[in-house]
Symmetry: C2
Subunit: 280 residues, 2 copies
């Protein structure tokens, strides 16, 4: 299928079709008429970085982001060093794959540790330590604030306001923010924070907040339009902030994972055309 101009900025985040290999995801993205893909490190590693980079280059697809670095809230020195080293590798992978942005998920509280302020401070320090290498490889670090449901075990940066408080210590070409509707839709005055973010927005990811939450809340994300998020208003704010990059659909959902990938891409393209593209 040839690219559809109306879908020019739509990107498939690989987690939306988690059952697909990288090869299947590249082929499926092209078949759906899309021109961008958001990669994850694990399926890239499954085929090897060089093969993945070659496939991507041959496909002509843009890589809207690489997911993910981060998980650097640990306090024990050896674990911190290991996390730092892994993030240097992730930066290299992003550069090799042609991804401008490495998404950073900060990580949660270390086991048995209730010092949230300490974990947040370590996340900010870890980002600072990664900046020189990221800059040398031409990769922007994208801090992803995560819904507070994940504050204990996955992401201690909980609001866009907080992510910007960290990011603004750096040059915008070094450290930006990932704006994900699922994580941020509830944040009071989020439109003000999106405007504040401006050119620090390095990725716009979309999926819906659905209720009731499924038993595994990690998989509680829905297709745009199936839940409670006002995509037109949110998207208008992102566009008004000056964001001109790709829009990734990233959905963790067991039902969607059980659906054939081409059907998922058809549905997400349709919802994108209805709820997002008109407001860009």
């Amino acid at each position: 299928m040839r690219s559809d101009p109306a879908l020019a900025r739509l990107s498939l985040n690989q987690r939306t079709t988690a059952e697909w290999t990288l090869r299947e995801a590249i082929d499926g993205t092209l078949a759906a008429g899309l021109s961008s893909i958001g990669l994850w490190r694990e399926p890239v590693a499954d085929v090897g970085l060089e093969v993945a980079a070659k496939w991507i280059a041959e496909s002509g697809l843009r890589v809207s982001s690489l997911c993910r670095g981060g998980f650097f809230t640990v306090s024990e020195p050896a674990a911190r060093a290991a996390a730092h080293a892994d993030n240097l590798t992730a930066i290299d992978e992003a550069a090799t794959l042609g991804a401008r942005t490495l998404v950073l998920v900060p990580g949660g509280l270390p086991p048995g540790d209730t010092d949230l302020a300490g974990a947040r401070a370590r996340a900010a320090e870890a980002i600072a330590e990664l900046v020189p290498h990221a800059r040398s490889r031409g990769v922007t670090l994208g801090i992803e604030p995560m819904h507070p449901i994940f504050a204990a075990d996955r992401g201690v940066v909980s609001t866009l306001r907080q992510a910007l408080d960290i990011a603004e210590d750096f040059d915008p070409s070094d450290v930006g923010v990932v704006v994900d509707t699922y994580h941020l839709w509830w944040e009071p005055s989020v439109e003000d924070q999106i405007a504040r973010a401006g050119d620090r927005i390095v990725s716009y990811q979309v999926c819906d907040w659905i209720t009731p939450l499924p038993a595994d809340t990690l998989l509680g994300r829905g297709m745009m339009g199936d839940g409670h998020i006002d995509f037109p208003t949110f998207t208008s704010a992102v566009a008004a902030a000056g964001y001109t990059g790709d829009i990734e659909v990233e959905i963790f959902n067991a039902d969607i994972w059980a659906t054939p990938g081409d059907e998922v891409l058809a549905r997400m393209s349709q919802r994108y055309l209805e709820l997002i593209a008109p407001f860009l």
Copy 2:
């Protein structure tokens, strides 16, 4: 059992022993050596308001709060009028029971409605409409900011900062805030907001954030010390803000509900003495 001075400010919120009738809860609270109870409207209604008020008066227990009013984010005029009328009744119940505070849970998005800003505005309007009656009955309205996990279906006020933005339009004797560790532990700079709240804190409720979340996330609250919350730091902030009222233990948890109530009160008293009382 006679009251234990070290437990003087500890209050049993009835939801922690959800299987107990009001009579059982009053007797259990007294037997545990506590002097305060947080009531819920449903078990009060089960015996009738006048009987409940008589029992409470005879028991000598303080009523630390009445849960709950609110659920006034609906937009349809008849539904709004019904919510208003029900909240007037709740205010009367609080006054009759001797509760200084009526806890207000704002409610979520109306079905099919994604206008979160609109729902939040209606919540603030509904509070304003209740103030004259609350004042006339000597009841303070306590806005309860709820964890963003509930923003869609239960509480559109998601942070203490946001609750204070609403409350500060009113006199502190009319409208305050409920500070609940479970809902607020993750909020960036929450200590600053607690200090800002000062004498607007009308209730301090405690329970823990546990992981993994159970399948029914509404029941995902844990006993203090079983999860990720730093109670000493949080409690110190509440004390430093000048709060001198009761501390309610409010836990929604199926395992705790399946435990004999006297065991629950013994455990919560022990944890209170370890994690909270020393920091008041």
